[in-house]
């Protein structure tokens, strides 16, 4: 039997009839077409599917879509506002915090939660706070740097001056 699920995703209301077994991550990807949230494992380790549910970071592969009834969801697609990257997105770009990019949306969403809980984390707190996300490319070095740099920006410190890089890379 299908169940009605009404959600608000990135500020937009949605309502669908879904099978109970539909995982929240598949609802986002297949039903809503929000494919920025990825799936990297079967067992809730990798965190590639991390989104915010009512402001809390959760692994959307370990929740059924029916459980999202009445919830407010935020995915990677909802992070940039009016064409402005979120400071964490910007920091991942500036600090080369991604390579293949597959784990990146999960890391960014996990970092949003991390900095909301702890706006001024130590390096150790960042490393511990990102324990639920796996990356196979970066060795985490620049991910940690990105979160540090985003924390500074979000605290109102002047953003690092754009290198030649920032000037030439441009947007898409």
């Amino acid at each position: 039997m299908k169940h009605k699920v009404a959600t608000n995703v990135n500020g937009r209301a949605h309502e669908h009839e879904v099978e109970p077994r539909l995982l929240l991550v598949h609802y986002l990807r297949d039903t809503l077409g929000l494919t920025g949230t990825h799936i990297g494992c079967d067992t809730s380790q990798c965190g590639a599917c991390t989104i915010l549910v009512d402001g809390k970071a959760v692994k959307s592969c370990t929740m059924f879509a029916v459980q999202a009834e009445g919830r407010k969801l935020q995915t990677i697609e909802g992070l940039a506002k009016e064409g402005q990257l979120h400071p964490i997105q910007q920091a991942f770009w500036d600090e080369h915090g991604l390579q293949c990019g597959y784990c990146t949306p999960g890391f960014i969403m996990g970092s949003v939660y991390l900095l909301e809980q702890n706006p001024n984390p130590t390096e150790d707190e960042i490393r511990k706070g990102l324990e639920g996300n796996l990356c196979r490319c970066t060795g985490y070095v620049n991910i940690v740097k990105a979160v540090q740099s985003a924390a500074k920006t979000m605290a109102g410190a002047p953003a690092k001056s754009g290198s030649k890089a920032a000037l030439t890379a441009g947007g898409e």
């Binding site: 079967d42 809730s44 970071a57 929740m63 459980q67 009834e69």
Partner: protein
């Protein structure tokens, strides 16, 4: 992978949940945090016919202190326990343990009741519950922790029985829980807890057998005045852990001794 199909029902009260469980029978499962159940369903190692979702039962999400006891509702998330001023104050070892379960995302979903009812030998709450003589309150009765963890993944819970809350004693004294693992989000290879309480020590061990273990021989040795390193030698008395991918039985027994020693030494 996608789980096998099942029926789904939301319960808004314990009574409603009980009725639903009765309706679906043996093949129904309770869905709380889902972090043990859903991965098993995705691997199709679990294929329940129905899930009764108790996440909407608000009264199960509570932390209350009364009469020297700390009542933790079954639906209380790890993150809530970790950050609760009451828990930090009245049973700080439990706040520490909650902060080391899984990772941020897991702690935002996983629940006290889920861990207790799942009765995984590598779970940390069961060890604390056992060593502190906690009580598990269900919709039908109250079960002492020592009677609750029967075997690996085995408890006396009936098919229509739901954990409502876990009642711990208040213990503000020196304490330490050491969870030895390779990565932060991993389960314990071996865990050891030490809690000073009512003038004596309570010592518990995680993942050294099918159920949590209370190291009474260590407690007694300490009571007789043994030094931590002497008493800890008894931590592996009577243990017969099974080996797994992370550790051999001998190493687990060795770790039990080392970690108990360190837990007592580091308790504050």
């Amino acid at each position: 992978m996608i789980p096998a199909a099942f029926e789904y029902a939301r319960a808004s009260s314990v009574d409603e949940a009980t009725k639903l469980l009765n309706k679906y029978g043996e093949d129904a499962k309770v869905l709380a945090g889902g972090h043990s159940l859903i991965p098993l369903m995705r691997l199709r190692l679990a294929q329940p016919k129905a899930l009764v979702d108790i996440n909407g039962i608000k009264e199960l999400d509570h932390i209350k202190e009364s009469g020297g006891k700390l009542h933790i509702g079954a639906l209380t998330r790890h993150v809530t326990i970790q950050n609760s001023p009451v828990v930090k104050d009245k049973l700080p070892i439990l706040a520490d343990v909650a902060g080391e379960v899984g990772d941020n995302q897991v702690r935002n979903m996983g629940t006290m009741g889920g861990v207790i009812a799942h009765a995984d030998a590598a779970g940390d709450y069961p060890t604390i519950a056992l060593m502190l003589d906690a009580e598990i309150v269900t919709n039908q009765r109250t079960i002492a922790a020592k009677d609750f963890f029967k075997d690996l993944f085995t408890t006396p819970l009936a098919a229509d029985e739901i954990v409502v809350e876990v009642v711990f004693p208040v213990a503000e004294g020196p304490h330490k829980y050491i969870k030895f693992r390779r990565r932060l989000f991993d389960w314990a290879i071996v865990g050891a807890g030490a809690q000073k309480m009512n003038g004596g020590w309570r010592i518990g061990l995680t993942n050294v057998g099918p159920t949590p273990v209370r190291a009474k021989a260590v407690e007694e040795a300490l009571h007789k005045g043994a030094k931590p390193e002497e008493a800890a030698e008894h931590a592996s008395d009577g243990l017969n852990p099974s080996g797994d991918l992370r550790a051999s039985p001998e190493y687990k027994k060795h770790l039990a001794r080392v970690l108990v020693k360190r837990a007592i030494q580091q308790a504050q």
